[in-house]
């Protein structure tokens, strides 16, 4: 099974400069260490479970650019209905990645409900995602993901990985400042 660092190295390599990336929980700091793009937005100090729907809103507003959300499995379980909501008003430019490590990592790797039993890809299939994929090996992911990213979505990509030891993330300034700066970045690069 891949590590998050191996997985993120592949995503970072494949990410075009104009792709929006929304991160949350244990993905936020590791992704920020790899990329300081103004099109990154860390859904941190915010509401758990609401990175994917926030990303959906951006994808609907900005159909000209691809929007990735790096969601957690625990976060997804807190708002499973969001998968259905996405498929009801499907933004073809949204890629919903789930980092499945089966734990609430930032609070000390407690097992999530359904760990090892619940199948994330089955949730996505059931919700009606036109594209559902799963990877547990960075090499395969590196080989197959580029073609997936070229197709119309919304896509659901489950990334099975080993739990890490990421502490709880926080922001160095108010979320409102981050949102305003992010909005300006989207405006600037969208014009």
């Amino acid at each position: 099974m891949m590590t998050r660092d191996e997985c993120f190295a592949v995503l970072h390599e494949l990410r075009r400069h104009d792709v929006v990336v929304i991160t949350t929980m244990s993905a936020a700091a590791p992704w920020a260490r790899l990329s300081d793009s103004s099109l990154n937005f860390a859904s941190v100090s915010s509401a758990m479970a609401h990175a994917a729907d926030f990303a959906m809103g951006i994808a609907l507003a900005r159909p000209e650019r691809q929007v990735w959300v790096l969601n957690g499995d625990g976060s997804l379980l807190m708002s499973l209905g969001t998968l259905v909501t996405i498929c009801q008003t499907p933004p073809p430019n949204l890629v919903h990645f789930v980092l499945e490590n089966n734990t609430y990592e930032v609070t000390g790797n407690q097992l999530i409900p359904g760990a090892g039993k619940a199948a994330m890809v089955q949730f996505a299939h059931g919700a009606g995602f036109p594209q559902v994929h799963e990877f547990q090996c960075a090499e395969t992911m590196s080989r197959e993901l580029p073609a997936i990213l070229e197709r119309a979505g919304p896509a659901f990509v489950n990334l099975r990985m080993a739990p890490g030891r990421e502490p709880a993330p926080s922001l160095d300034r108010p979320l409102s400042d981050c949102a305003r700066e992010f909005r300006q970045a989207l405006e600037k690069q969208g014009s």
Partner: protein, 175 residues
């Protein structure tokens, strides 16, 4: 003996609700709203019906009200002008989503919220939602306006302007 199931409260007649919904939709269109995000209830169903027929507004139905705040926040960050339409029951459910997205992100977002139970506020009722609603709005620091009959457009504009000037969501209550 099991409880007898009764109708929750007398419904306003359909023709009146439709007329009112038409005025509300006109008010929303006048504000150049681009997206309506939420969950329909008995009061808002005709608003959703009319918005679904209007090509200038995209309706985004959600499974749970918390999603409405997050999606609307994403839409605003992306440069759109959304409105949230939910009922007070869902509002109570969605507290952390409201706090963690629209409020903390400073999103100037008008929200039309159905006030279930308003007419039975001063009477004994097993439905507690109405008695908790306004205290919760105040506790969460959300300014609110009551939607006034035949002044729907003015009320919506006032709420929208307040949201813009405060940089935060403002509620409009539908009784």
């Amino acid at each position: 003996m099991p409880p007898k199931i009764i109708t929750r409260e007398p419904a306003t007649d359909e023709a009146t609700m439709r007329e009112r919904s038409t005025r509300i939709v006109a008010g929303l269109l006048d504000l150049d709203i681009t997206h309506a995000v939420g969950v329909a209830d008995n009061m808002s169903r005709f608003i959703f019906d009319e918005l679904n027929e209007d090509p200038s507004v995209s309706v985004v139905p959600v499974c749970r009200e918390g999603e409405a705040w997050a999606i609307a926040s994403g839409l605003w960050v992306g440069g759109k002008r959304p409105v949230v339409l939910i009922q007070n029951t869902g509002f109570l459910e969605a507290g952390d989503a409201l706090r963690g997205t629209a409020v903390d992100m400073g999103v100037p977002l008008p929200a039309l919220i159905g006030y279930r139970g308003y007419r039975s506020l001063s009477t004994p009722t097993p439905d507690s939602v109405a008695s908790l609603f306004e205290p919760t709005l105040r506790a969460w620091g959300l300014p609110y306006h009551f939607l006034q009959e035949n002044k729907e457009g003015e009320t919506l504009r006032a709420a929208f302007m307040e949201a813009q000037s405060l940089g935060q969501p403002v509620a409009v209550l539908m009784t």
